[in-house]
Amino acid sequence: MSAREAILSRIRTSLAVRPDDDERMSHVETRLRETPSGVIPARGQLEAGARVAIFRAMAEKVQTSVVHVETIDDVPAAVAAYLREKNLPAKIRIGADADLAGAPWQQEATLEIRKGASQGDDLVAVSHAMGAVAETGTLVLASGPDNPTTLNFLPEHHIVVIETSKIDGDLETALKRVRRHYGKGNMPRAVNMVTGPSRSGDIEQTILLGAHGPRALHVVMVG
């Protein structure tokens, strides 16, 4: 008997169930099909305007810096402003994200833009989140050529663009958005839910930023 068979069989013996129990199977199929949401906190159920305000408040609470611009065309200027403010070289790493690519980067003539995954020598990366969660100030980033995963973790500074229309109130709704995008049961290689810059409390319980991931997270809300 393979380990797999042994384990599954022991589970069934322990639970005193038979392998061909249709009723049990239907419980499982129902839950997987209906994906019930459960208990959603009130602070995740606000209307659009209030949602944006909660998102910002929760993000800032965990040391994320947040700015708000009108359209995606304002993003290059917002990025350049951040670099200047932090005294960073005018260099960014970015993926193949079409929305970001369509912004007027040429307006920032001195800005050097490197495309693709990060090899670890980028100070700043710019990503486009596919969603966000207002109740916790969280960004939802999906892997792929548009926004490679390494951009979320290797650079010192991570700038994330998110349309306010894509900020969902609660975790479950944001995950439903992911499900809609990729199709039921499908996921990209990685979905990163990011809430603030990297930190550790492992030395005398003192919270310090910049453990292994970015030291700083900057969000540009659009619209």
């Binding site: 393979s2 639970l15 499982v28 479950e172």
Partner: protein
């Protein structure tokens, strides 16, 4: 898993006189408890979420075989591999095989209690493969060749001077004159040292906080981002998880996530919550080429269908030990097990046998604080009591305790004998107590009188006084 729980008493003695450890443990009391409290108070739905989380896990456990099958199918559809391991040794061997397949020399590790449980690091080292812990706390204790003393804050027993000394001892390539007085400089140094290791690693090994059946995803939660660098930069991502980590859907994951962070560190969300599904896709510019999940039993199936099944709801948040007066006194290492504190007291005997770990469920006052903060509403004291019942049945209880309690129980079930015995003993003790109304020494009560005086009885027992009063014909019961 090397167990030294039978030395609990000696370990506890050492821990109590270790002033450095006692100072570090005060951080546990003052830090974790307040943060959790604030987070819970800020979320009115917290208790309802605990109920929801419990219901989700109970449902999953009742259908665990089916959810495992559903999960496995999705992992394979996404291009991942699923391996089943009955024992810790089996899991280690499977991981070694994967390492050999890829000629791995170095593996990076995200923080993973399950790999501690199976003794993975020692096993890999014996087989000439270097495991590099990347979680800062795990990295520090790896340098010290110690075991974690807390399931989410592995280095909570250390102070910064100790960390500085370990870094100086190990990072010999760095300038000996450098200033490491502040924690932030220690963090920066670890970041720099480990950054290189991520790129050097052939394989990245993580655990999983959740395995999602709906999508075939493994989920890790970290604050540092080390788990993500581990699993993204290695050529292969290996996930080790015990079978009770299954949850049905993405929404179910979210429900439990809400109580996990708040219970562990008082955070609404940890910084990084990552859902990984299979290896990189054809158009992914980064990510691992291969994805392997090892599903481990190691005693879980033996807990299903028993009075210990509730323990399988544990999400390893650490809230129980953060609130435990015994843990506060002696710290995690005293327990001599991979899993300390209240959850360790219940789980360790299941994994390693009650004969080897009897002290753990016995060293509890049953104050119930653990259960009151457990996000999954696990009845920890009740299960510790069940272990005591197993011990009693097998005559593992020390004889003095067994006979003493048997005598008490005998007297208690024979009221007349009881009355006769106490009517002699109590006035004697009252007399011994004298005008101080207490005794500094009392035969058979050395454990008590070493640290406290023994209060003397008032003399006659209540039942005697009551009976006398009623014989005297008084109906109201308050006179003397």
């Amino acid at each position: 898993m090397q167990l030294t729980s039978n030395e609990f008493k000696r370990n506890a003695t050492n821990a109590l006189s270790d002033s450095q450890l006692q100072k570090a443990l005060r951080n546990v009391e003052s830090g974790f408890i307040g943060k959790r409290q604030s987070a819970v108070e800020a979320l009115p739905e917290f208790d309802a979420l605990r109920d929801s989380a419990r219901a989700i896990k109970n449902h999953t456990l009742e259908h665990l075989d089916l959810y495992i099958e559903a999960y496995e199918k999705k992992v394979r559809e996404a291009g991942g591999h699923v391996h089943f391991a009955e024992t810790a040794d089996d899991a280690c061997q499977i991981i070694l095989d994967i390492c050999r397949q890829h000629s791995a020399r170095t593996v990076t590790k995200g923080k993973s209690m399950i790999t501690e449980e199976i003794g993975l690091n020692e096993f890999l080292e014996k087989n000439a493969i270097e495991p590099v812990e990347t979680d800062l706390g795990e990295y520090i204790i790896q340098l010290r060749k110690e075991r974690p003393s807390h399931i989410i804050a592995p280095a909570v027993h250390l102070n910064k001077e100790q960390v500085e000394s370990d870094f100086r001892r190990t990072h010999t390539h760095l300038d000996a004159e450098r200033n490491l007085a502040e924690p932030v400089s220690l963090l920066s140094e670890a970041r720099e040292v480990l950054r290189k290791r991520y790129f050097e690693a052939d394989i990245g090994i993580t655990g999983a906080n959740f395995l999602v059946a709906e999508t075939g995803s493994s989920v890790i939660v970290t604050n540092e981002g080390n788990g993500d660098l581990t699993q993204t930069l290695g050529k292969v991502h290996v996930v080790v998880a015990s079978i009770e980590k299954l949850v049905p859907t993405l929404e179910d994951t979210a429900q439990i996530l809400r109580v996990l962070g708040r219970s562990a560190t008082g955070q609404d969300m940890t910084v990084y919550t990552t859902f990984s599904t299979g290896p990189k896709r054809p158009d992914d510019p980064d990510g691992p080429d291969a994805y392997h999940v090892i599903l481990l039993d190691n005693g879980r199936t033996a807990m299903l269908g028993t009075e210990y099944q509730d323990m399988l709801r544990c999400i390893r948040c650490g809230a129980c030990m953060n609130h435990c007066p015994v843990y506060h006194s002696v710290g995690g290492h005293a327990y001599g097990s991979v899993y300390p504190g209240p959850m360790g007291a219940v789980l360790t005997p299941s994994l390693s046998g009650i004969e080897q770990s009897g002290h753990l469920p016995n060293a509890s006052t049953f104050c119930g604080r653990c259960e009151s903060v457990c996000p999954m509403r696990i009845p920890l004291p009740k299960m510790m009591r069940h272990w005591r019942e197993r011990e009693f049945e097998r005559h593992l209880t020390p004889n003095t305790a067994r006979y003493g309690l048997a005598l008490w129980a005998f007297l208690a079930s024979h009221p007349k004998l009881y009355r006769a015995a106490v009517s002699l003993a109590m006035p004697l003790l009252a007399w011994l107590g004298g005008t101080k109304h207490s005794m500094d020494h009392l035969p058979l009560a050395g454990g008590w009188t070493k640290y406290r005086t023994m209060p003397a009885p008032q003399g006659r027992t209540f039942v005697q006084a009551w009976a006398r009063q009623n014989r005297a014909g008084q109906k109201t019961g308050t006179g003397r």
